[in-house]
């Protein structure tokens, strides 16, 4: 059996390993288009911080890992797929045929529709190459403007703040991390950043970036309110879009990403998709959406591989969840943190202490949560949500004091 995986990020690598675990004899080809060994982009901020070397981002640390497992890892870029023939074509023209194909090509950063993005010193923060570009300009005298304070923007924010002289963050939404945080949490985060001397401008758009010659940097970021901010470095983090362009004409159905069913199989038989590129089942909503998070990518990779092996692994959907630290303030969100119609919530806010916990229930099940300043035993929130634990009288207790969530969990699993 010939298994081909396109895209050597976390989804692709976990899939390859799972395939090997399940089938000692299969041919497994892992194709990636980046020059480095398979790495994890989410570790890039820690390279910028100086905590790790670039090699610290590599997904597997043992020398000869892929060869050892008999996984053929090769560089190459898929240009097109012909699902009907069971082949794909690499740039350069080589055709590769497959019995099973996994599309794990991830996503590409979006660009804001403004002029000046091609100026030197304007970077995405998505690849190790981007990382090297940013690192060159990042020093304690640098004025940096970060455009976008979404989830990934905020993670980058932490790294930039640690290394640069002066950081301004521009976000067009009315709060930070609007897709994982409500107004209370977003506001708290913004106040926290302010207290750490990071200027965060919300409800503000960038109109363009211009070359400049001031002492504050060789660029000026022009805002829609007319203000300009001098910068040595501009980092973009305004969102990503799945890498599906090369599938045009392949016969594989796409929407935002590759449409997959409950086996992570696409409309074309034998072709699967996983990770940031896949529009998979969401555990909370029951709908199909692109998560673009690490845990979903590895989960997809594993389950897709099981199905490629013919194990008929039925996918119950991934829980959208995030954890991030913004200059030291840890926040996390899980599932339907915005609540569901007819549901109840339990909320505890301590504005001065920068602590917040919001639990959302449907009936006596926990369905979502949002936390700030919470680090102990956070995982049980996932456990309670995904197990659909009937909380019984614990629901009321949690509404009174949501911080007893670990107790509620232990009470249900251990007693």
């Amino acid at each position: 059996m010939q298994h081909v995986i396109v895209g050597a990020g976390p989804a692709g690598v976990v899939a390859a390993e799972t395939l090997r675990k399940g089938d000692r004899n299969a041919d497994i080809v892992l194709i990636g288009d980046e020059p480095e060994p398979p790495y994890s982009r989410m570790a890039i901020p820690y390279v910028l911080e100086g905590m790790i070397e670039q090699s610290g981002t590599y997904l597997r640390k043992t020398e000869g890992h892929y060869e050892g497992l008999g996984i053929q890892y090769r560089q190459g870029r898929a240009e097109s797929v012909a699902a009907a023939d069971g082949t794909l074509t690499l740039s350069g023209g080589e055709t590769v045929s497959y019995d099973r194909l996994l599309i794990a090509t991830g996503a590409t950063p979006l660009s804001p529709p403004v002029p000046g993005l091609d100026l030197p010193g304007v970077h995405n923060c998505w690849t190790l190459e981007d990382c090297r570009g940013i690192a060159k300009l990042l020093n304690e005298d640098a004025n940096v403007v970060l455009i976008g304070a979404g989830f990934i923007g905020c993670i980058i924010l932490e790294a930039l703040a640690k290394r640069c002289g002066n950081l301004t963050v521009v976000e067009m939404e009315d709060r930070m991390v609007s897709r994982m945080m409500d107004a209370t949490a977003g506001g708290m985060l913004q106040r926290w950043c302010g207290a750490k001397n990071i200027r965060v401008l919300t409800s503000t758009r960038v109109a363009g970036i211009e070359a400049a010659s001031g002492a504050g940097g060789d660029k000026a970021v022009v805002l829609d309110n007319g203000e300009t901010i001098d910068a040595h470095l501009v980092v973009l983090a305004v969102g990503v879009a799945p890498n599906i362009g090369f599938l045009e004409g392949s016969g594989i159905k796409t929407d935002h990403g590759v449409l997959v069913d409950q086996h992570l199989e696409s409309s074309a038989k034998g072709v699967f998709a996983a990770g940031d590129v896949a529009q998979g089942l969401d555990f909370s909503t029951g709908e199909y959406s692109v998560h673009a998070i690490q845990p979903t990518a590895t989960e997809h990779g594993r389950i897709a591989a099981l199905n490629m092996l013919g194990q008929n692994a039925h996918y119950k959907g991934s829980l959208n969840m995030n954890v991030l630290a913004t200059v030291g303030l840890v926040s996390s969100s899980f599932g339907s943190w915005e609540g569901v119609a007819g549901g109840d919530s339990g909320v505890a806010v301590d504005e001065d202490g920068y602590k917040y916990l919001r639990l959302e229930f449907e009936g006596d099940h926990l369905v979502g949560a949002l936390g700030i300043g919470l680090t102990d035993h956070v995982g049980v929130i996932r456990g309670l949500i995904q197990n659909e634990t009937a909380l019984g009288d614990w629901k009321e207790r949690l509404q009174e004091n949501p911080h007893r969530v670990m107790e509620a969990y232990v009470a249900h699993s251990q007693t």
Partner: protein, 614 residues
């Protein structure tokens, strides 16, 4: 090492919190906790101060072992001038508050002055704040503790607080931590209330280290093994708790009953450890489980429920929970002292004592005194507000617990303590107390040494200053005859000194059922810098005892206060093995002064003061 070497000084009047280094010279002389905090109090306050005035200070203090893995090493004490007694007060508590304080990096917290408005102290390591407590003032200990945890969104905060009783000036209010562990005696909670300090909430994550880890791990492991192998600490206390004593003490005829009218209680078996293990109407026993304090490998603590259909809780689901159950002293005071043998009523009254922060010993004993006043016709329904305050009335007991917990109605009078109550009604002789503090659960007619122990206890009548019961009844470390007075002066002194040392270390005194100072010294020696032998500990203990005595002398106490109520000296025990005996205090006291190196008036002689380098 072992000591955090750090004192937090909180001036409530000014609203300031400051760190200062622990006086390590004093630490070498007074070890920690009881001894060291007393030294601070002596140095910093006038012994004649009104306990409830802002000039009195209240010190929460850990020992050097607090927070380490030595068995029972989670203790802290509250040291101040007692509201009930006007004498030096040192009330010791377990639970988990002491280790949290040490983990936050403090050996002691010294509270000075009085806050203009109710406040609580929040300590998160070096982040310390006084916070307005108006939302908790008027609330019980239980609601305060839960409220603070919820407010600060941290279920792992440990809280020590006062209930409504402490706010209302009930003279025997305690400081309660971890829902049902209390620094119980002498009215330390009353002092806290007088300072407008509702609670101290601590989260400590810094860790505690010791001087010589290798030796410490070995010494503590050996100590734990000794506790496990001992019949009392290895089996008796975990299985039955201190309540194992109820039937034993009743049988030896030393169970003070109905305000010490009798020495045996016909209902003792109904309120004993054995009764707590019997299935009730609901099929479950009173005792749910035993529970340990921090680091304790004995685990004598009781967790109990009140039977659901019992009148006290039938309509009040909030009390249909498991909570701190009866310890022997509480069971005695709420039961034998009042003649009540309804175990559920006692358990409920005990819940209320914990919930509102009142000392069940002084409370029960004072109710006993009130019952005698009532039966003698000295007080009537007019005074009690219609409560039929008769010996044996469970209803009177539980109603008074609730009233006293809030300082309301006749509860406010009970809250005066038996001495003030009986004086008020012209019957001072009916107060079963020394230096204003009620006796605990051993009748000194049946256990002679306890008479001397009570009479000379620095904080007023107390069993925990010299538990000669251990020798006279249980035969630990060696058996002495409970009915004789010979040799008791030396015995009491030895117990007093050793206990003072243990109370200064961070360990629980219950370990001494199995441990002598020879077992304890290697643990302290490995943990602390300096040379800590059993001899040195005994010397520290003696020094602490004399320091406390000096404080009391300066506060106005004299040898005349080393006395027992006439009932124990004149009215012979009516039944049991001690029938016909009174306490022979007059035979023991002079000898005691002599072995102590005190003058005939009971004042430490110059020579003694010099010898102990006081």
């Amino acid at each position: 090492m072992a000591w955090a070497r750090n004192v937090l000084r909180v001036n409530l009047t000014e609203g300031t919190c400051k760190n200062e280094p622990l006086n390590m010279d004093w630490a070498q002389k007074y070890l920690g906790q009881r001894g060291l905090a007393t030294k601070y109090l002596v140095e910093e306050t006038d012994p004649r101060v009104d306990p409830l005035s802002p000039d009195n200070k209240m010190i929460m203090t850990t020992g050097p072992l607090t927070g380490t893995c030595a068995s029972t090493a989670g203790r802290y004490s509250v040291v101040t001038k007692g509201a009930l007694t006007g004498a030096i007060a040192c009330s010791n508590s377990g639970g988990f508050f002491g280790n949290e304080m040490k983990n936050a990096g403090y050996d002691m917290i010294i509270f000075e002055g009085r806050a203009p408005n109710p406040v609580y102290l929040l300590v998160e390591n070096d982040n310390v704040q006084l916070i307005d407590a108006s939302e908790f003032w008027g609330k019980s200990v239980w609601d305060t503790e839960e409220g603070i945890k919820a407010k600060h969104q941290d279920p792992l905060i440990r809280v020590a607080s006062i209930g409504v009783a402490g706010e209302a000036g009930v003279k025997f209010a305690c400081v309660v931590n971890d829902m049902h562990r209390a620094a119980g005696r002498s009215g330390v909670g009353t002092v806290m209330g007088s300072k407008n300090l509702k609670a101290v909430a601590i989260r400590g994550t810094l860790g505690v280290s010791v001087e010589d880890v290798g030796s410490f791990m070995q010494a503590t492991a050996e100590g734990k093994q000794t506790l496990a192998d001992n019949a009392v600490t290895g089996q008796g206390l975990p299985a039955y708790g201190t309540q194992v004593l109820m039937n034993v003490i009743n049988e030896v005829g030393a169970l003070p009953t109905r305000n010490h009218r009798d020495v045996q209680f016909e209902g003792a078996k109904n309120i004993s450890a054995e009764a707590m293990a019997e299935p009730r109407a609901d099929g479950k026993p009173n005792l749910v489980t035993n529970a340990a304090c921090f680091g304790c490998t004995i685990a004598c603590g009781r967790v109990s429920t009140v039977e659901r259909s019992h009148y006290t809780v039938a309509e009040r689901p909030e009390y249909q929970i498991a909570s701190g159950g009866l310890e022997y002293e509480a069971a005695w005071a709420l039961g034998a002292a009042t003649g009540v043998d309804d175990l559920d009523a006692l358990t409920f009254a005990n819940f209320i004592c914990n919930e509102q922060g009142i000392d069940p010993i002084s409370f029960g004993a004072t109710v006993g005194a009130a019952m005698e006043l009532y039966e003698e016709g000295v007080i009537g329904d007019a005074e009690t507000g219609g409560i039929e305050c008769k010996f044996g009335s469970a209803k009177a007991l539980t109603d008074l617990a609730e009233l006293t917990g809030k300082g309301e109605g006749f509860g406010a009078e009970i809250g005066l303590g038996s001495k003030r109550l009986c004086e008020k009604y012209g019957k001072p002789e009916l107060s079963m107390s020394v230096k204003g503090q009620e006796f605990p659960a051993y009748d000194s007619r049946g256990i002679q040494g306890m008479g001397l122990a009570y009479a000379t206890a620095n904080r007023g009548a107390c069993h925990l200053r010299a538990y000669t019961v251990s020798s006279e009844i249980l035969g630990v470390p060696e058996k002495t005859d409970p009915h004789v007075t010979e040799g008791k002066a030396g015995l009491v002194k030895a117990f007093q000194d050793a206990t003072s040392a243990v109370d200064s270390s961070g360990l629980c005194v219950f370990t001494t059922f199995a441990w002598s100072l020879d077992d304890i010294a290697p643990q302290i020696n490995a943990a602390c810098e300096g040379d800590w032998t059993a001899e040195k500990l005994l010397e520290v203990g003696e020094r602490v005892w004399n320091l406390e005595r000096q404080y009391n002398c300066a506060a106005g106490f004299t040898g005349k206060d080393d006395n027992l109520p006439a009932r124990l000296l004149k009215d012979a025990a009516k039944t049991g093995p001690a029938e016909g005996l009174t306490n022979g205090l007059d035979q023991m006291l002079p000898e005691y002064y002599e072995v102590r190196g005190w003058t005939d008036e009971g004042v430490p002689s110059n020579e003694t003061v010099e010898r102990l380098a006081l």
